[in-house]
């Protein structure tokens, strides 16, 4: 089981409903239906304890993972899901390579709780290091079984046969049999053992379902339609944790066929169209109690004053306390990182349908099995009665681990006895989904007189413990994570806190290098032993032409490097500062990335460049603004994400270590772009910024070029 990281799947289900229904149904004159259920606070509370982590061992029967049809077509099954990271293609490649068939012969069934083996979820860059080897092992076992079948059939020694192009061949006699002829569609009953799997072939197989995407044929979760389906909307407060005090539905429209459903704190409407559901909800009067809390400018103080548990030491080595006395240069800093939103272009969406056998839900989630459990918990069902399907969705970035939208659709569907679709609006997605945690990080670092790092003390409040450990050789270290309360709902985000921790570490390394009067690259190489970090740093700087030009007012060069989840990254960046507005523009980025043996070079490049692009947003301008738990910029017009105008010239070096196992690549390429940009601003202005985002409204006057 992958190690559990804080903020990975932290959030619990938002709802729990009574299992014994006491629905009071009232028919309006116009056909509208009102369902009233007395609120049960206890039930609501107990629901919050459910849906936590649960593991199941991976099945070791080949038939759980692979099936070969009579026509030779291969169906493969995985609980992982496709959220844009191209896992569907990567896993297809894994199966196709081991089974020796063309990728087009393989259909990958993903994230379907009725058909695929249990999976905890698609997060933590685990698909490549854990699922791909599993699919490969199943492929090898199936191939072996097919060879043995043919050998039996022909009465020859299996060792003399080979598999290629979907057939088993006997090179001696020239005989060959297609897989489909060997199995006749029957399951391959064999146990996966310690199969010798091959390294990926590093082939740029195109995205397997790309054609359906360019034609608009692919059905994303929000595109699913069911016969007789209604559209649902949920009554929302303005703050995610506001408490419903009273509600009055007496003004509900008598026409339009809307059903208003109230169950405890849940109030929603289902109607034949989204606009009719919205109109019905607009007629509902509700009072909410919103707890007071800090604003975005006060939250960092708040973190320090509101611990949520004891500090967790990540590293404690040497004797930090006495090391400061021997230091040649000591640099201290307080850094802050704002809450940011994932903004998956497709918001949360779900279609729920009750059948005599239970509940079926199509929804966009990175944890279909987790959502199944949330649904079972919310409705008091056995998980076997709940079927969750996850059509490839409009991205996630760690933001779609929870099942609240699925529960809402299911609640409305239950009340109306019709399939119901709920698609969150962008505003709902901003206000009620969870965010990347904000954080306060205090750091102190020192060098000895030989220019080497001597001591390092690092305290992260709230942001998270991922990527806390430094790759640098430092004899005295104290690194700790301090869990705190959060006024906003927070959870996983691509790279988790590795982005915050790299931002601070790599910014601070530049400040220390500057204090010691050493070039930032030279300083890093002097203090880094890890060869894989050194390699990406050298590759990125070489590609970039580091040191060829000097930073000056209005133009700066910066770099940063790091490692996380078994992969390694370095960025070099050139920025330009507009003299008038102080706006920072990233002009050029060179990235070197290494994640072991590359599965699909083209898709890897796409991921790396996408992560750099996304990282530019969090680095320069993305920030959630809030008053207490109420978000005040919940719209794309008020929350800026990277656009074409922000696209720098990108050059990317992929280091292919075919001698090493493959690690995941969806997250790590995002972790060093922010400090590289920050260090480029430092180089241009002499000013070391210590807050993310760095320049949402441009640099202040003093830091603009004359």
């Amino acid at each position: 089981m992958p190690e559990r990281e804080r903020y990975e799947l932290l959030e619990k289900p938002a709802y729990h409903f009574e299992t014994e229904r006491r629905d009071v149904l009232k028919l309006f004159a116009g056909g509208g239906l009102l369902v009233l259920i007395p609120h049960s606070a206890a039930a609501q509370e107990s629901g919050r304890a459910r849906g936590a982590w649960r593991g199941e061992p991976l099945p070791d029967a080949v038939e759980a993972w692979l099936h070969i049809g009579p026509d030779g077509r291969v169906t493969a099954f995985t609980g992982k899901v496709e959220v844009g990271q191209n896992s569907r293609t990567a896993l297809t490649q894994a199966v196709a390579e081991e089974l020796r068939v063309a990728p087009g012969q393989v259909e990958m069934v993903m994230g379907d709780t009725a058909r695929t083996p249990f999976d905890m979820g698609t997060f933590g860059s685990r698909t490549t290091p854990t699922m791909a080897p599993r699919m490969r092992a199943a492929g090898v076992a199936a191939r072996q079984a097919l060879i043995e079948l043919a050998a039996q059939h022909w009465g020859v020694n299996p060792a003399t046969l080979e598999a290629a192009d979907g057939c088993v061949r006997d090179p001696k006699s020239g005989r060959s049999a297609a897989y489909g002829e060997l199995t006749h569609g029957k399951a391959i009953t064999r146990t996966i053992g310690k199969e010798q799997v091959s390294r990926p072939r590093s082939e740029s197989v195109p995205k397997v379902n790309a054609r359906d995407i360019v034609t608009g044929a692919h059905r994303y979760p929000s595109d699913i339609m069911r016969p007789g389906m209604l559209y649902g909307k949920v009554l929302r407060p303005r703050a995610w944790d506001a408490d419903l005090v009273s509600v009055d539905v007496s003004a509900a429209p008598k026409t339009g066929g809307a059903t208003i459903v109230r169950d405890g704190k849940f109030v929603g409407a289902a109607a034949p169209s989204v606009s009719a559901a919205a109109r019905a909800l607009a007629s509902v009067k509700a009072d909410w109690n919103t707890p007071a809390g800090p604003s975005n400018s006060e939250v960092f103080d708040y973190f320090k004053r509101n611990p949520a548990g004891p500090a967790e030491d990540a590293v404690r080595s040497g004797d930090v306390a006495s090391a400061w006395q021997q230091a040649a240069h000591t640099v201290e800093g307080h850094y802050t990182v704002a809450y940011i939103a994932h903004v998956p272009l497709e918001p949360r969406a779900a279609v729920a349908e009750w059948t005599p056998n239970g509940l079926t839900v199509w929804t966009g989630t990175q944890r279909p099995f987790g959502v199944r459990e949330e649904l079972a918990g919310a409705f008091g069902l056995d998980v076997k009665k709940v079927h969750v399907l996850m059509p490839d969705c409009g991205s996630g970035y760690g933001g779609k681990h929870t099942g609240e939208c699925a529960i809402e659709a299911a609640r409305l569907a239950k009340a109306t006895n019709r399939p119901v679709k709920v698609v969150w609006t962008r505003e709902e997605e901003f206000r009620f989904a969870y965010l990347r945690p904000a954080g306060l990080i205090e750091v102190r670092g020192a060098t000895s007189s030989d220019g080497k790092l001597l001591a390092w003390e690092f305290h992260n409040y709230n942001s998270g413990p991922s990527g806390l450990a430094t790759p640098y050789e430092i004899p005295h270290q104290l690194i700790a994570f301090h869990p705190t309360r959060s006024p906003l709902r927070q959870g996983s985000y691509r790279g988790l806190a590795a982005t915050a921790n790299h931002f601070v570490r790599e910014s601070h390394i530049d400040d220390i290098a500057a204090a010691s009067g050493v070039d930032p690259l030279e300083f890093r190489l002097r203090n880094l032993k890890e060869p894989r970090v050194r390699a990406v740093l050298e590759q990125a700087t070489e590609r970039f032409g580091w040191g060829r030009e000097k930073s000056g007012p209005g133009r700066g060069f910066g770099l940063a490097c790091g490692m996380e989840k078994g992969s390694f990254v370095a960025n070099c960046v050139e920025i330009a500062i507009d003299p008038g507005s102080g706006k920072v523009r990233v002009r050029r980025v060179s990235t070197a990335f290494e994640c072991g043996a590359i599965v699909n070079p083209d898709h890897l490049k796409n991921q790396v460049e996408g992560a750099v692009m996304m990282g530019i947003g969090g680095a320069l301008f993305e920030a959630i603004e809030f008053e207490g738990s109420r978000i005040t910029n919940p719209a794309l017009s008020r929350y800026r994400v990277p656009r074409f105008a922000d696209l720098p010239e990108l050059s990317t070096v992929l280091v292919n270590r075919r001698d090493l196992d493959s690690a995941g690549a969806g997250e790590t390429p995002i972790v060093t772009i922010a400090p590289a940009i920050r260090n480029a601003i430092l180089a241009a202005t002499g000013k070391g910024l210590r807050a993310l985002p760095l320049a949402p409204a441009g640099l202040s006057g003093a830091n603009r070029p004359a």
Binding site: G394, V423, A635
Partner: protein, 152 residues
């Protein structure tokens, strides 16, 4: 009221309803996507008489008697439109949720300017968000059509 969608006559009732809701929910043309509902992301882009329009903020009343083209209407006789083909060739997507809006925005840009410069292309597409950050490949796809080549 009447309008034409992908070459077919259709009729609609409520002039205040958004074109996006009508296309997706009434006509089942779900290739057109919702991303923001305020004209900021371009996921809902359709062509109205060949000009790009944000269908999320366009009421049906505004497109009466006009010709609407959605992503489903670009293919002809099973042949992909050159821009669709270029997106395929360039692998210009990750999750693909922005793709329909991107393709239609590119189609209309090329319609107006068959050979847009880099800056012009960026400006024309700046209202289309790709949160996955596939921007370099989208520009590459556009470039491959505008220069007539098919190289990835």
């Amino acid at each position: 009221m009447k309008l034409r969608v992908n070459g077919k006559d259709v009729s609609a009732q409520d002039p205040d309803r958004s074109v996006l809701e009508f296309l997706r929910d009434d006509l089942g043309l779900t290739g057109t996507k919702y991303g923001c509902g305020e004209g900021q992301c371009g996921a809902c882009t359709v062509l109205v008489d060949r000009s790009p329009v944000r269908s999320c903020i366009t009421p049906l009343g505004a497109v009466a008697d006009r010709e609407i083209t959605t992503i489903e209407g670009l293919e002809s006789d099973g042949q992909l439109h050159p821009v669709q083909q270029a997106f395929l060739d360039a692998g210009a997507m990750q999750c693909g949720y922005c793709t329909a809006g991107m393709i239609l925005s590119c189609v209309s840009l090329l319609d107006r300017h068959p050979h847009p410069g880099e800056e012009e292309a960026r400006r024309a597409l700046n209202g289309n968000v790709c949160r996955c950050g596939a921007y370099p490949r989208i520009l590459q796809a556009l470039r491959s059509v505008s220069t007539g080549g098919r190289h990835a």
